[in-house]
């Protein structure tokens, strides 16, 4: 199974020179090529099942340490896609990172319908904007909620004494 995935990744590396592959076979794709890369995964490698979409917030170290810095936030947010192939049986983790200042990337709704709810959830909790998403609005939190709770700098008010 892994061998199959290895060959797929190798082929992908030939086609997209800019992608990076880690030891755990995690593919990192730049945002610009994301849509064409994903479309290729679906059309040519039968990766028809998008299981998981999520994102992780990585603020830059400077801000984490609390040092005052007037320069713009250099932190990033990683968006993670887990794609399975029902027919071939392999699974692939695809990552892409966007700037924390302006977290925008194309929606995968046109490739997999399953992205619809999950991207809405990511938008809701992390504030990443998926352009071309048909109905991007809050899904778990209240519409009037301010802030994005899963960001690391989110300040939570309330709770028990």
């Amino acid at each position: 199974m892994d061998n199959k995935l290895d060959s797929v990744i190798k082929e992908l590396q030939e086609k997209f020179s800019e992608i990076k592959v880690s030891e755990q076979q995690v593919v990192t794709v730049p945002v610009e090529q994301l849509t064409s890369f994903m479309q290729m995964l679906k059309d040519e490698y039968y990766m028809d099942f998008l299981t998981n979409v999520t994102a992780v917030d990585y603020p830059s170290d400077k801000n984490q340490n609390g040092e005052e810095d007037d320069e713009e936030d250099k932190g990033t947010m990683e968006v993670i896609y887990n794609v399975n192939s029902i027919t071939e049986g392999y699974t692939l983790m695809v990552k892409t990172s966007v700037a924390r200042q302006n977290p925008k990337l194309p929606s995968m709704f046109s490739v997999w319908g399953g992205a619809h709810f999950q991207e809405r959830e990511v938008f809701d909790l992390l504030g990443i904007i998926f352009t071309d998403h048909p109905d991007l609005k809050r899904i778990l939190l209240d519409d009037s909620f301010k802030g994005y709770p899963l960001r690391k700098d989110f300040q939570w008010v309330g709770g028990r004494k």
């Binding site: 998008l50 998981n52 997999w112 399953g114 999950q118």
Partner: protein, 367 residues
């Protein structure tokens, strides 16, 4: 001039058929559904955020509260992810105990589904009869873990406690009794012509759109797609058991319902094998795990087949004793994504049948 108007009905959040606090904004034309927009979040507790302030072990009780009807599966999914992250080998006996709890949880969840679905369709008796059988499973779990629903049984590297004396015999007895009760459900619910009229050819879900919308579990298999992670990518020790993956043909509510009944029978089969094999397996129930868990920097994504569908945990570690990020891919939540298309053109009564056949748990949807 004669004209008709559509009107909006708030179906929920306090509605008996939404299985909790879930709301569907219905646009109705008479009784026909024009649009059904699911609105969730009434039970959002921020488990993912809470997990960031807990140590790795302390997250386990919170996973119980996601799918509280099948907590054993939730625990298993989480601890296996951490074990994947830390590369821990779990002892065999612990694996068997996990499988037994997981499959018992699956049956408990499916039995409840059958009962609740009967209730949704209008048959009250099926509901309470199913509870009677579920109770026996809960009693077993209480004996093993001390809790009836939120087990917190799996631990990173093993399980919390070994089976008490005679427990396996009692499990075997219950497991051998179960098929008799499934026959009763078949007589009372599945075989009933009114029930079939209500569910057959209702809420059609084509195989293509099921895959496209990432639906999983019996909802996907009801449309005839053979995708059960226990078979497709055997995790834990599922490769040691013989079982089949039941599939539906038409992709309607009845197929989704009946898949679950058949799945319970397969679970019974797995359990019988597991009990036979665990009797020959002695040994520790815990791997050698440090008291303070500090997984190496990195990330892991692991999927298991829960009773509702594919349950995935994504955990990022930054090397400290608390997870940097925990994300749960909840099957109930993703399965809801196709509700609107399935309901369109149906009647209000069909919405209840369709929503019931997806088998959502609000604790899991809202996380």
């Amino acid at each position: 001039m004669l004209r008709t108007e559509t009107y909006t009905v708030n179906f929920g959040p306090q509605h008996p058929a939404t299985h909790g606090v879930f709301r569907v904004m219905l646009n109705l034309d008479g009784e026909r559904i024009v649009k059904a927009e699911p609105v969730c979040g009434y039970l959002h507790r921020g488990v993912e955020k809470l997990a960031e302030n807990r140590t790795y072990q302390q997250v386990i009780p919170y996973t119980d509260r996601l799918d509280y009807l099948a907590a054993g599966l939730q625990n298993q999914g989480y601890v296996e992810t951490i074990e994947k992250l830390m590369e821990i080998e779990v002892p065999d006996r612990a694996e068997y105990l996990r499988i037994i709890t997981a499959e018992l949880s699956r049956i408990a969840s499916h039995v409840l589904f059958v009962g609740v679905y009967a209730l949704d369709i209008g048959a009250f008796t099926g509901f309470l009869l199913c509870f009677r059988e579920r109770e026996r499973i809960l009693d077993l779990m209480e004996e093993l873990t001390g809790s009836r629903m939120t087990y917190s049984y799996a631990r990173i590297g093993g399980v919390a406690a070994d089976a008490p004396e005679g427990w396996l015999d009692r499990v075997e007895k219950v497991v051998n009794d179960l098929p008799y009760y499934f026959d009763i459900y078949d007589d009372l619910i599945s075989g009933n012509e009114i029930f079939q009229a209500r569910t057959k050819y209702v809420g059609y879900l084509s195989a293509e759109s099921a895959v496209d919308y990432s639906l999983s579990g019996p909802t996907l298999r009801g449309s005839g797609i053979d995708y059960d992670l226990r078979k497709a990518k055997p995790y834990s020790i599922y490769d040691r058991f013989n079982f089949e993956v039941p599939l539906g043909e038409n992709g309607d509510c009845f197929d989704r319902y009946f898949c679950r009944i058949l799945e319970m029978r397969q679970s019974v089969y797995i359990l019988q094998q597991a009990i036979e094999q665990i009797r020959e397996t002695d040994g520790p129930i815990m791997a050698k795990v440090p008291k303070v868990l500090k997984p190496p920097k990195g990330e892991a994504y692991h999927e298991i087949e829960s009773s509702k569908g594919i349950l995935g945990y994504y955990v990022v570690s930054d090397g400290s004793n608390k997870p940097y990020r925990v994300h749960v891919r909840r099957p109930s939540f993703v399965n809801l994504g196709f509700l609107d298309e399935m309901c369109r053109g149906g009647l209000v009564a069909d919405l209840v049948a369709i929503l019931g056949s997806i088998d959502i748990v609000l604790g899991e949807v809202d996380c």
